[in-house]
């Protein structure tokens, strides 16, 4: 059994409440009342639980799969891990640096070249400029973009976007990699390469969380799969 010292991520009874409406829908009076009373477990009109009592741990070198229908709460879990949002109740503990693979192309600027975007995206996920410079050759080689690396990315195909994004994340020095619904875009060969690279990453002791609808891919890659439905963990498979 793995010991607690190897835990890189722990969700403890996490509840996350979301509102279905914009802020302008809320009344200032309610907000002020809430400021004094604090956030309760009660739901108000127009609110729902995106996560309900979610508890799990992630260990070093582990590759965890998250599986569930759209809107089950998978992305919310990733956001909580990335400290982009915070739990309403409960706690999320992260030991180490997190590197999310931003949706295909989301972190890229269309007018910048592939190489320039490596610098932008790399620093966003926590690399130093120096580190990027020293890894630049490897990243470009992995992306298979070759001569297109100096072309503005607005001229890239979605496959090329993905390859570049994937290459950057796999060369990050984060302890936890978050990969959201992404491997399905690339061609078969590139997918295989990514799978291999991910296995290498977990061997180094990093942890990976993979979100996908593709059960076969998850079974092939992960040590453990968590099933999520309507914000709750409904099953686990080793």
């Amino acid at each position: 059994m793995l010991s607690d010292s190897q835990v890189v991520l722990a969700f403890k009874e996490v509840w996350k409440k979301y509102s279905l409406h914009d802020v302008t829908y809320r009344s200032l009076r309610e907000d002020i009342v809430r400021l004094f009373k604090g956030n309760g477990k009660k739901l108000k009109k127009g609110e729902f639980w995106a996560l309900k009592n979610v508890t799990f741990k992630l260990f070093k070198g582990e590759c965890l799969g998250l599986y569930g229908p759209n809107g089950a709460g998978k992305s919310t879990i990733l956001k909580l891990i990335a400290s982009v949002t915070y739990p309403t109740i409960g706690s999320v503990e992260v030991n180490g640096k997190v590197a999310p693979l931003i949706e295909v192309g989301a972190g890229f600027h269309p007018d910048l070249t592939g190489k320039e975007n490596i610098f932008v995206n790399g620093t966003i996920i926590g690399l130093r400029i120096k580190e990027i410079k020293s890894r630049l050759e490897d990243i470009i080689a992995f992306s298979e973009l070759g001569p297109f690396i100096d072309t503005p990315v607005k001229k890239y195909s979605s496959g090329m976007y993905l390859k570049l994004g994937m290459a950057i994340v796999l060369h990050s020095n984060a302890d936890i990699l978050l990969i959201d619904e992404i491997l399905s875009v690339g061609d078969k060969d590139f997918q295989k390469k990514c799978v291999k690279a991910l296995q290498g990453v977990t061997k180094e002791g990093k942890a990976v969380i993979l979100v996908s609808h593709d059960m076969n891919l998850l079974r092939e890659l992960t040590n453990r799969i968590i099933y999520i439905e309507k914000g709750e963990i409904v099953g686990e498979e080793y």
């Binding site: 979301y18 802020v23 982009v84 949002t85 320039e116 932008v120 620093t123 966003i124």
Partner: protein, 257 residues
């Protein structure tokens, strides 16, 4: 906070560098755009006040007088224009990944500062052309610029965060900047203004900053120490308040954006 930004300094550099590249790529005259804005303002005012209105504003040659005012003003207004929507424009980053959010508005202030430095070259040329004698008091320009940067950063932090919640802020930006322009001494000097009105105008920190920048460089006048200390204290206090506010609301950015 400085520690937090220092830790992410590479990101700040890259964001500013990216913005700088994007702004001037696929443009024919490139960074000359940085000079065009204050320059065209100066030309317009010189035309209006020396040919149409023929008002006696200042003993300083008008092109110099207006350019020296337009320079810090352009820095301030362009920071506001770009930085206020900066958080909402980076929706996809804010909902996916953590980094100190204040880096986004700050990077636009940095770019505006670079533009300002480029456009300053034009002021140097004008000074040489009009044979203005420079005194040691010009050094005041540097601390004045420092408080201008801090003040600008505070305003953009507060407004960009508010804009995440209420898009009204963005809609009001153009209007706000326009009004602010008229209460800042860009096309006039507060020298000859009645003392009561002067006190009202001094509620705007830009009044003190812009007026004194012009005085110290073009007229070789000294900045009054107690005024400088008072304004610096006010600007720092505003900065602290605005940063606290930012820190407080930042946690829910991803949920409400």
């Amino acid at each position: 906070m400085i520690k937090r930004i220092w830790h992410y300094r590479d990101l700040l550099i890259i964001f500013a560098w990216r913005e700088f590249i994007i702004r001037y790529r696929q443009s024919v005259i490139g960074i000359i755009w940085a000079i065009i804005q204050p320059l065209s303002m100066m030309l317009l005012f010189t035309f209006v006040f020396s040919i149409i209105l023929q008002v006696d504003l200042s003993p300083i040659p008008y092109p110099l007088f207006f350019y020296a005012g337009a320079l810090p003003w352009t820095f301030f207004s362009s920071s506001l224009y770009y930085a206020i929507p900066s958080l909402t424009n980076h929706y996809s980053l804010i909902t996916k990944i953590y980094f100190p959010r204040e880096i986004l508005p700050l990077s636009y202030v940095v770019v505006a500062l670079v533009d300002f430095l480029i456009a300053s070259l034009c002021l140097v040329i004008l000074i040489i052309f009009y044979r203005i004698s420079i005194t040691w008091n010009s050094i005041w320009f540097i601390p004045l610029m420092a408080i201008l940067v801090i003040f600008t950063f505070s305003v953009t932090m507060f407004l960009s965060a508010l804009n995440v919640y209420y898009r009204d802020v963005r809609a009001a930006t153009g209007f706000l900047v326009q009004l602010w322009f008229f209460v800042s001494p860009v096309m006039y000097s507060i020298d000859k203004i009645d003392i009561k009105l002067k006190l009202v105008l001094f509620l705007n920190p830009l009044t003190f900053i812009i007026e004194n920048m012009r005085r110290c460089i073009l007229e070789g006048r000294e900045v009054v120490w107690w005024q400088f200390i008072l304004v610096t204290a006010i600007v720092l206090l505003l900065f602290l308040l605005s940063y606290r506010f930012f820190e407080y609301v930042e946690k829910s950015f991803a949920d409400v954006i």
